[in-house]
């Protein structure tokens, strides 16, 4: 599998990272270099192997679905570049 310019542009859009047109080709080369190296994983027989999802042999803890903490609106928004009245402010999204 090899990435072309158009795929890099699509992935960059999914990742919400603006990449200038002139940088797409070099980026494709960089990513293909890494992906080409990763291809060797195909040599490993992984039939009947469950993907590893947990490092320690443990199941995730359950807890009661109840509010245990909160009420820090000002703390939560304090680091936003633009906030008003306890809300994050963003550019207008509805015309």
């Amino acid at each position: 599998m090899s990435l072309d310019k158009a795929t890099v542009a699509k992935v960059a859009n999914l990742a919400r990272i603006k990449i200038e047109e002139k940088d797409l080709e070099p980026m494709a080369a960089e990513l293909n270099n890494i992906l080409g190296w990763v291809e060797q994983l195909g040599e490993v027989d992984t039939d009947d192997v469950e993907p590893m999802t947990s490092v320690a042999e443990m199941s995730l803890r359950w807890r009661a679905d109840e509010v245990t903490d909160g009420g820090y609106v000002e703390d939560v928004v304090a680091n936003g570049p633009n906030h008003e009245d306890g809300f994050f402010a963003v550019p207008k999204v509805i015309e």
């Binding site: 599998m1 992935v11 990742a15 919400r16 990272i17 490993v44 490092v55």
Partner: protein, 492 residues
Amino acid sequence: MSDLTKLTIAAARDGLAKGDFSSRELTAAHITAMAASKPLNAYITETPEQAVDAATASDARRAKGEAGKLEGIPLAIKDLFCTKGVLTTAASHILDGFTPHYESTVTAKLWDAGAVMLGKVNLDEFAMGSSNETSFYGNVVNPWRRDGDDSALVPGGSSGGSASAVASFSAMGATGTDTGGSIRQPAAFTGIVGMKPTYGRCSRWGVVAFASSLDQPGPMARTVRDTAIMLESMAGFDAKDSTSVNMPVPNFEGALTGDIKGLRIGIPKEYRIDGLSDEIDALWQQGIDWLKEAGAEIVEISLPHTKYALPAYYIIAPAEASSNLARYDGVRFGLRVEGKDLNDMYASTRAEGFGAEVKRRLLIGTYALSAGYYDAYYLKAQKVRARIAEDFKQAYLNVDAILTPTAPSAAFGFGEKGDDPLEMYLNDVFTVPASLAGLPGISVPAGLSKEGLPLGLQLLGKPFDEETVFRVGGVLEEAAGFTATPTDWWRG
């Protein structure tokens, strides 16, 4: 008074307890050393006033008989740990001005134990790097130089500021985080000890996330004992981290009995990689001989999937990073670059806020998780990861710990591995497999290269058996007798 910065944590603890000096004096000595270490660029944010206040409070607690386990000990904190009211950057432009309103669990535990914060130390951006060359706040410089050569060397990464601060005696110890070797490799490059605990041992809560199934905080200090002392205060169950493990924290320092008679130490044959330098190979053999002389039994083992650890890691870690770093979008934290609409604002903010290595990894990760490629990349990598973990499990049926080199080379110069990211990634060839398996590991300084640079040996243990890792590490340290320190050229 002799130079207090040269003390180990254990010795400072005893000196404070005996009243030989106060935490204010100990802290003041480190503040002076920190100010003098600017050419190393180890610190992003220095907090000397807060340090003096904390030391004063510590002395008062001691006077009342309320001394904690790290009472009055000045430490540096990797700038990936959120610290209440103190700038936290992850060494990224995108977190400009981020000042958390909360404290990470690990640092809160350190302050509860009486420790004093000197400042926040530099790292690779979002902990993505092996040389500390990706920080928005500039390169960290290794206090060590090659014999007869003034050129600057990297301190390793990503916990390069932590390593540089501890090795240059501007902090008695430092927190690090290890995702694929970020504690152990910089420890090896700077001649100090770095311990990555078992995944789940230390809480990740309040630590800026890189790859959540791999990230693990741990201690860095100048002796094995000092890392054991620190870990005891950092570890422990935390309900706020869903993968924190609810187990009692052992007396890690008490594990340093010096007795490894009868322990079985595995030597994985797959770690004798092509092109391993004679120097590293000889050091490894020396380590084997030391442990044998101390009464351990050396056993050759096989970890057949070792060579696939790096490529699996470079799918899994970027994939998790692409998800974790989605939160930096110009809305909730730091930097915002305005755009023609909301999407453009997101994309412009992230284009300006992230450095080249972070972008590269986010794109790889996004691609690996995207529709149609998830099975081929991410799922495949997670299956390979399971096989790597199984290799270790099988090996540990027969051995108690595993000895390997920490890194394939000594510290290198800036830009020496800049052109091809794959060359940089290979630095982590000995540390990544244990990260994927979640195992504890320690790097112990074991000797000097021909050029006069420190080299480390790595010990890996069974899950949650940090005690054996510390015990064997202590014996290795004793046998190596590594006492070399860098010349303090940075003081000018």
